[in-house]
Amino acid sequence: MRLRIGLALVIALAAVALLAPLLTPYPPAAQLDLHTLRAAPPSFAHPAGTDLYSRDLLSRLVYGARISLIIAVLAVVISVTLGTLVGLLAGYAGGLADAVLMRIVDAGLAVPKMFVVLVVLALWEGVTIPALIGMIGLTGWFGVSRIVRAEVAAAREREYVGAARAAGASPVRIAFRHILPNVTGPIIVTAAMGVGQVVLLEAGLSYLGIGVPQPTPSWGNIIADGQHVLLSAPWIATGAGLAIIVTVLAFSILGDGLREHLDPRSA
């Protein structure tokens, strides 16, 4: 049930992101009324209103979905891949490699993530979207690697691994062909949840003005646009906030659904 709701929501969001040019009445950065430059409330011509620069908010929200989802999905691909590799290595090799890697992970988890990303992005002159994706991906693998390591360390003691070893399989082959397929469940769940969390992180960064650069729309920078006119033009920040909630909710529900589906006991 949850899996279906989550999947449906995520597919709908992906469709919105993919079909953005067809769904939007105006280009997202076009200033439509340069004479008055006034935030207009929702109307027939602008269902979500316009912002302080007279840009159509519906178009910005729809293109914002595209930007947010691209960043989140690519960043999660990077962090889950890295985290899985490190977790596999630490969990399977054990010993010194495990100890060193896990201390690095502890250090990575000990610094608030927002902070690391802030430092790096602020030091690099001019944030580009690929840099943003890289940074979020490279700082996001610590938690994943810990989960994978625990799963791998448990799987290593199972009979099928012993059987593979007795059959003469190499450690690399055992790790990738025998252990990895048996620990994909938690990795998939983590990835689904992770997409939602990266959407939140990117929104926070863009809100602070160091994420997606203007005039490219992002839900975070739309909220920043609207935060000083919350009383006179509440539609600016409201729409973007709801868009974030629905998106993160979709991926969280999908994650929960996947967990239920893959491991019925835990639900």
Binding site: R103, I104, D106, A107, L109, A110, V111, P112, K113, M114, F115, V116, L118, V119, V120, A122, L123, W124, E125, G196, L200, A203, G204, Y207, L208, G220, I223, Q227, L230, L231, P234, A237, A240, G241, I244, I245, V248, L249, S252, I253, D256, S266
Partner: protein
């Protein structure tokens, strides 16, 4: 305190030092690898001659090879010397000293809200067990978990700060009236300013805590000792609160250690929304102005707080659970 506990603390502190060392190294590498000159801030001031900048470069040791800089940097940190802020013209520790109490107050209050709401809701859900109440509360907690903390802050700010006017809209004290108030009034003033930011940060985190607490409760209620307690004819209230909750609280205590860095990440945003002069604002401002010594100091302090938070959480877990004491 048993020798076992003391050796546990010693071991964890040693690990903590390694973690902090790793964080210090990470910050050093990040700052060196980043393009841009650490003294660019000073170079932008026209009254400074190139000669003066060169002298400063020597003072900060920036003319030395990188390995030498690294060793000096670690030696200074080990001696507790964090240097002087490039933009605030005072020692980094003084700037941190002003900001840290505000953040600790905010984080402590938020943790209180987080755990009161999170555990409360989780216990109700666990006790109701897969009912309509559980389903509705699940939707509420997962929505909280999915809400951007700064947006929640803005909504509460508009609603309770500006529209209803129940609470002040930002800052830690009333900038005009605070000094004139009696002690009790000053404390009340601080408390009124604390409510909205703490509520924002706490509620945003409570979604996760509640989800965690719910599954811990469900797991505890499935255990044999609960059946025994029910079979003895104990009231359901006693069974839930006395028997199940006590066991289901353990994972949550450990969670507090993990929740702390997440809370600190949140403070960057919440302090921005509510103009709260804490570590998050200090760090964000320092990063924006390329004030490297403050950035370094704040990062290391954050790591120290997280390490200590984890240690406290683990100690609390040991205190609550004799099984952990014996196995370690």
């Amino acid at each position: 305190m048993s020798t076992n506990t003391i050796s546990f603390i010693a071991r964890r502190l040693a690990q903590g030092v390694i973690v902090i060392f790793a964080v210090a190294t990470l910050v050093f590498v990040l700052l060196r690898v980043a393009p841009g000159d650490p003294l660019a801030v000073l170079g932008e001031q026209p009254q400074l001659s190139a000669d003066a900048v060169e002298r400063l470069r020597r003072t900060f040791g920036l003319d030395q090879p990188v390995p030498v800089q690294y060793v000096r940097y670690l030696a200074n940190l080990a001696r507790g010397e964090f240097g002087v802020s490039l933009t605030q013209h005072r020692p980094v520790l003084a700037a941190i000293g002003d900001a840290l109490p505000n953040t600790l107050l905010l984080a402590a209050a938020a943790l209180l809200v987080d755990f009161a709401v999170g555990i409360g809701v989780g216990v109700v859900q666990g006790a109701c067990g897969r009912s309509r109440t559980d389903a509705v509360l699940s939707l509420v907690t997962i929505t909280l978990y999915s809400t951007p903390v700064f947006w929640l802050g803005l909504v509460l700010l508009v609603l309770f700060g500006q529209t209803l006017g129940w609470f002040p809209a930002g800052g830690t004290i009333d900038p005009i009236g605070h000094g004139a108030l009696p002690l009790a009034g000053r404390m009340l003033d601080r408390l009124r300013h604390l409510v909205l930011p703490a509520l924002t940060l706490g509620l945003a985190a409570a979604g996760y805590t509640a989800r965690h607490q719910r599954s811990a409760m469900l797991e505890a209620i499935g255990q044999d000792f609960i059946r025994t307690a029910r079979a003895k004819g104990l009231r359901e209230r006693t069974v839930v609160l006395r028997h199940a909750l006590r066991n289901a609280l353990l994972p949550t205590i450990t969670l507090a250690g993990i929740a702390f860095p997440v809370l600190l990440s949140g403070t960057v945003l919440v302090e921005t929304v509510f103009s709260w002069p804490g570590m998050g604002r200090l760090a964000a401002d320092a990063i924006g102005r390329r004030d490297y010594p403050v950035v370094t100091g704040a990062a290391i302090l954050a790591a120290v707080m997280v390490v200590l938070g984890n240690l406290l959480a683990d100690l609390a877990a040991r205190l609550a659970d004799p099984r952990i004491r014996r196995s370690a």
